[in-house]
Amino acid sequence: MKAHKIFAWIAIAIGAIYFFVPLIGTFEFSLRMRRGVYSLDAYQSVFTDAQFRATFGFSMLMALVTIVVGMLLIVPTAYWVRLRLPQMRPVVEFITLLPLVIPAIVIVFGYLRLYNSSSWIPFTGSTQGTNVLLTFSYVTLALPYMYRSVDTAMRTIDVRTLTEAAEILGAKWPTIMFRCIFPNVMSGVLSGAFITFAIVMGEFTMAALLNRPAFGPYLQLVGANKAYEPSALAVIAFAITWLSMGLIQLVSRVGKLSPSRP
């Protein structure tokens, strides 16, 4: 065996230790609740907690609304920029990357100053308004991922020809958008949706500072007050992330199998 091959295996071993030991540690810890034996008590305690179900449901609903709102905003924009405003492409792309540059805590700080109950647009004046603002904050956070996945999917289809064909057949704008463009970029929409789901489920800063009962702040609260439940929750959170990423892989593979267009 060559020296560089041994070195490569050492690197892999270090990486594997770094990745797997914390996961094994978390899983092992989550089983330790009953003294002396391994049990699933911590999971039972988590699943029977009414707060868990309430916050999990809230975040799930938020994630779904975020995906719908985000896609209704981004797919038409990406489509329009490709079709009619290619000169605006760099500007739109730049804007979609901004949420990676501006930390989330800064964005939500701006919201709290701009949209508080004594401002022109008092989003945070009511529960419903705050939920709307939280949704928009999640759309903002997901913007880079959603735009990139949709735009990548759009690159593989010929937007102009599709639109012209639909127009010749007498289709109106809503038909073109929802029966022609959306189905063709579905792989991008879905992978954007899954990553958004993973982001929203674990998000802490926005929900905590907007005072909404989401899963992220609940995790933090449990972490500060309980011993074994946090590990069980971490295992659950990791499973959610795995599921989302696994679904993205699946979607992109299915997308590649479908016949490609010029």
Binding site: P99, V106, G110, S231
Partner: protein
């Protein structure tokens, strides 16, 4: 129709621009204006007069201390994560390990780079905390008390190794395509010209790879600098990093000056902004070799 044909602006052009109005309105309302509000606010005092005092006040020892810890944690986790990430990417691209390791590493990196926030803190507490798996394993089997060495997970070092859990996979994801771009012909050419492995790496690989390496490290730095949830769940408010200070400021005006809070946010934007601009510039240089 007559108004449209007589006006100087083409009706179609107007419709074209109307198409991105929803996106632009959204971006302005929920991204750009809130940020600008803070940036502008950083240059005014509570009475509404223009001032640089808030920027000057950032250089007080307590705030500088917070920036300094944040920068140290971000630099350390970016360098540590970058180094291990680089060797991992190198191992799967050029190290000659089986291809299934490459595909599992990339899949796993996609998951692990997104596994951050509060649960990550829980995972490390369960592993390296006082009763964590590794701590207990070392105590019972190796007779080594980790915490007697002065190690503490709720510290600069603890936060750094926790952050590395998402920094390493991010580095792997960025660097693998860059290493894939190293052409076999370059190696062969340098070997024919009599270069040693060391010379090949120093005179061919590094000059090509350094924009990718530097850029990725900067991205890792910015990534760690803006993160708050992990640190908050890990250390509570005990480790005084900038995002946690800003969190406390938003919650309860701990600096006793709202506009100083805006300046604190401005400082964060400037630091993450500069590192991202450099990253984008370096990436455009790196992409020249990946075609």
């Amino acid at each position: 129709m007559t108004t449209a044909s007589t006006s100087f602006i083409d009706r179609r052009t107007v419709i074209d621009w109307l198409g991105i109005v929803p996106f632009m309105v959204f971006a302005l309302a929920f991204l750009i204006v809130p940020t600008l509000y803070l940036i502008v606010g950083a240059f005014f005092n509570p009475a509404g007069e223009f001032t640089f005092q808030n920027i000057v006040d950032l250089f007080s020892p307590s705030i500088m201390g917070a920036y300094w810890i944040s920068i140290r944690v971000s630099v350390a986790s970016a360098l540590g994560g970058g180094l291990i990430g680089f060797f991992l990417a190198w191992a799967v691209v050029l190290g000659g390990v089986p291809s299934w390791i490459r595909s599992s590493l990339l899949t796993f990196s996609g998951v692990a780079s997104n596994f951050a926030g509060v649960p990550l803190a829980f995972a490390f507490l369960a592993t390296l905390g006082r009763t964590g798996l590794v701590t207990i394993f070392m105590r019972d089997w190796l007779g080594f008390n980790l915490y007697s060495t002065g190690f503490n997970l709720l510290s600069f070092f603890g936060l750094t190794i926790t952050y590395m859990f998402f920094q390493i996979p991010l580095m792997v994801l960025i660097l693998t395509p860059a290493l894939d771009g190293l052409k076999k012909e370059w190696r062969e050419a340098s070997e024919i010209l009599g270069a040693s492995t060391w010379q090949y790496w120093r005179m061919v690989v590094l000059p090509i790879l350094w924009p990718s390496l530097m850029g990725a490290t900067l991205l890792l730095f910015a990534n760690a600098f803006g993160a708050i949830a992990t640190a908050f769940a890990l250390t509570g408010a005990s480790l005084n990093i900038v995002p946690i200070l800003l969190y406390a400021q938003i919650r309860g005006d701990v600096l006793h000056n709202p506009n100083l809070g805006y300046a604190l946010a401005l400082g964060m934007i400037v630091i993450t902004g500069i590192s991202n601009i450099l990253y984008i510039w370096l990436r455009s240089r790196a992409e020249r070799w990946q075609k």
